[in-house]
């Protein structure tokens, strides 16, 4: 346990976006042994209630063993593990119901829950998220009121220090947190989160609101909403931002946890590097048009018909880290830039204010240091230049006038 804590600590202190895709055979050999031992150990445990047999479930949904193994090898690649790990990943996926999960909703639109539920026909990622041992989730559970609260208490008690806490939604901090309360006792979202996270093994913030405040925290942020990372201290925390968070990345984090007992390697914003170590722009199918200087100038123009780069209509792919340009959404059907609109940087902090506008960044509105008036960077710069020009003009004129006076005084 102690070395595991050390390992977690070490991962948490690596604060760089740099990703290491090849750590050498020796590293993977030891990792394989460790993961193998862990999986074998997990297999001996019986799940709390074997409600659903995963194999049956997959078969019912028409997923063949072959499809499943294809999926497993894709996830292995996504987690940046060598292909020899594929059987382990498949095993880990089948053991997903050994990971007790409590899922709470705060200031949000339930979009992440929806993303899992409303997929066009459940694909393997979504099926697996169905069978995780979801002990509590307000949106999809049938219990309500006191019954629901009791269920939460039960789950927290039974899986003390073992459950993963998934948080969806921002936490409003204004008027002592009273912008958002839950339950019969009107517990504020803040207290709710603190109480449930206390005995969680790790906390997973899903979606942009839970990670960085997202839309509730957009200027002027009337409820003073913040993300989980702003207030939760001293707990392993994993951020899976994006709007909605990609089910593939949620599954990736859970599988990583089952496989290694640790949280994946994180970047400085606590996002797993396997998912957020890539820039949208570097894996974008329109990139060639970017380099060629071929841009969509306005929606629906000739360039748009030719799938040109969306930079000039506000694509923020060059500043956004996410893997949706690789894994896409809905089991690889498509993704935002694929359907012809720019990336709005949904996986980045303050995306609503800083990324989500249909103009290139140079035309971004920035807040004046005093708050107040919004100006674009270029307007601000030109204003500065004009002010300097006027200043210089006045000084020059005054100098000339003064100089003349002196001369006439001398003569």
């Amino acid at each position: 346990m102690a070395d595991r804590i050390e390992g977690v600590k070490k991962l948490f202190t690596s604060k760089s976006a740099r990703i290491d895709t090849n750590r050498g055979d020796a590293h993977y050999e030891t990792l394989f042994q460790a993961c193998h031992a862990r999986i074998e150990e997990l297999k001996t445990q019986t799940p709390r209630e074997d409600r659903l047999k995963i194999d049956d479930l997959l078969e019912d949904q028409g997923v063949s063993r072959r499809d499943f193994m294809k999926w497993a090898s894709a996830v292995t690649g996504m987690l940046m593990l060598p292909s020899s790990f594929t059987p382990l990943v498949a095993d880990a996926a089948l053991l997903m119901n050994r990971a007790p999960v409590i899922w709470i909703e705060l200031s949000d639109c339930a979009g992440n829950t929806e993303a899992i539920l409303r997929s066009d026909g459940p694909k393997i990622d979504e099926i697996l998220l169905d069978i995780i041992s979801l002990e509590f989730n307000e949106t999809i559970m049938s219990a309500s009121g006191h019954q629901a609260e009791k269920q939460l208490e039960d789950a927290m008690h039974t899986f003390k220090d073992k459950y993963l806490l998934f948080v969806e939604g921002a936490i409003p901090m204004g008027i002592d947190g009273n912008y958002g309360t839950i339950g019969a006792h009107a517990e504020t979202f803040y207290d709710h989160l603190m109480r449930i996270s206390k005995h969680a093994a790790a906390v997973v913030a899903v979606g942009s609101c839970a990670t960085f405040g997202g839309v509730p925290a957009a200027a002027p942020n009337p409820t003073q909403a913040v993300g989980v990372m702003d207030i939760l201290k001293g707990k392993p925390l994993i951020n899976i931002p994006a709007c909605p968070a990609n089910p593939a990345n949620m599954v990736g984090v859970i599988i990583h946890y089952i496989l290694t007992g640790q949280i994946p390697e994180l970047d400085s914003l606590l996002r797993p590097k396997f998912a957020f170590g890539y820039r949208i722009h570097d894996n974008c199918e329109r990139r060639a048009h970017f380099d060629a200087g071929e841009f969509v100038e306005e929606w629906g123009d000739e360039g748009a018909k030719n799938n040109f780069c969306l930079y000039k209509v506000g694509c923020k792919g060059p500043m956004t880290f996410n893997n949706c340009s690789i894994v896409r959404y809905n089991e690889g059907v498509n993704w935002p830039i694929g359907v012809g609109r720019g990336c709005i940087g949904c996986s980045e902090p303050d995306f609503w204010d800083k990324y989500a506008y249909e103009r290139p960044m140079a035309d971004a509105n920035i807040k004046a240091p005093t708050g107040g008036v919004e100006k674009t960077v270029d307007e601000f710069g030109l204003g500065l230049l004009t002010a300097a020009g006027i200043g210089i003009g006045i000084h020059a004129a005054a100098s000339l006038a003064a100089g003349k006076k002196e001369e006439s005084g001398e003569s």
Binding site: D291, M319, M361, D378, G381
Partner: protein, 244 residues
């Protein structure tokens, strides 16, 4: 009686070459940088078979002049302390003499040359501080620019070896929280967008600096009557004999 003039050397050949290299680089960096920030001219949409590489060439030029800038900055930083000609750091230490000189030169400027109580033979404290501001802005551009650039080296690989992105991350990652702080984002959630805004804003500050720099040189030439403008061309200016 006409005052006698004496010629004093102010800039070495190297310093002058550096000055003009930097000046040309800066114009190139601004032109290409503005394009990268907001492509302001169009490539011909109708010609699919033409060799178009407009954004890539703009970025290429931007990076090339940046590298020249970087090398020049390193040399200038070295010269601050070890120049055999004039060591600028000596004028930056806030000794009473330096502080007095700084304000005397400033007063000279705001009183429109009515008061001139300092030795204008050598580079004065005001001038040195003014240039220090410029050099600090350049260093900031260099570091933020490299931070924006290193993310293009996906997975920490580059054609010249893995040490390059590794080093760039090591040296420039701290610009993210600092940019966030400058822009006014709370520390834990600063992102690369803050770096980009900061990089773009600093460009405007530098252009403003250049505007004032050119004006001040011309103004000095006209009002001090010591031929300051020729420092950057011939390397020397003239001072009245009785002053020197």
């Amino acid at each position: 009686m006409k005052p006698k003039y004496k010629q004093v050397k102010r800039m070495t050949t190297f310093m002058r070459i550096n000055h003009w290299v930097v000046a040309i680089c800066m114009v190139a960096a601004v032109i290409t940088g503005l394009y990268i920030g907001h492509p302001y001219y169009q490539t011909y949409i109708a010609d699919p078979a033409v060799d178009k590489y407009v954004m890539a060439w703009n970025r290429w030029i931007h990076f090339m002049v940046a590298i020249i800038f970087d090398v020049s900055s390193i040399v200038i930083a070295y010269l601050y302390f070890f120049s055999r000609f004039e060591k600028p750091y000596k004028k930056l230490i806030p000794t009473p003499a330096n502080i007095k000189e700084f304000f005397e030169v400033l007063l000279n400027l705001v009183t429109l040359n009515r008061r001139k109580k300092f030795d204008s033979t050598h580079s004065d404290s005001f001038n040195t501080v003014f240039f220090l501001v410029f050099h600090l802005m350049l260093v900031w551009m260099l570091l933020t620019g490299l931070q924006l650039y290193v993310h293009g080296l996906a997975s920490g690989l580059s054609s010249i070896g893995n040490w390059w992105p590794w080093m760039l991350h090591l040296v420039t990652d701290w610009t993210v929280p600092v940019s966030g702080w400058l822009i006014g984002t709370a520390a834990p959630t600063a992102s690369i967008m803050d770096v980009r805004i900061s990089h773009h804003l600093t460009m405007w500050l530098i252009i403003t600096w250049v505007l004032f720099h050119v004006y001040y040189q011309v103004w000095r030439t006209v009002f001090w009557e010591e031929g300051d403008i020729s420092i950057v061309v011939g390397g020397s200016k003239f001072v009245k004999e009785d002053q020197a």
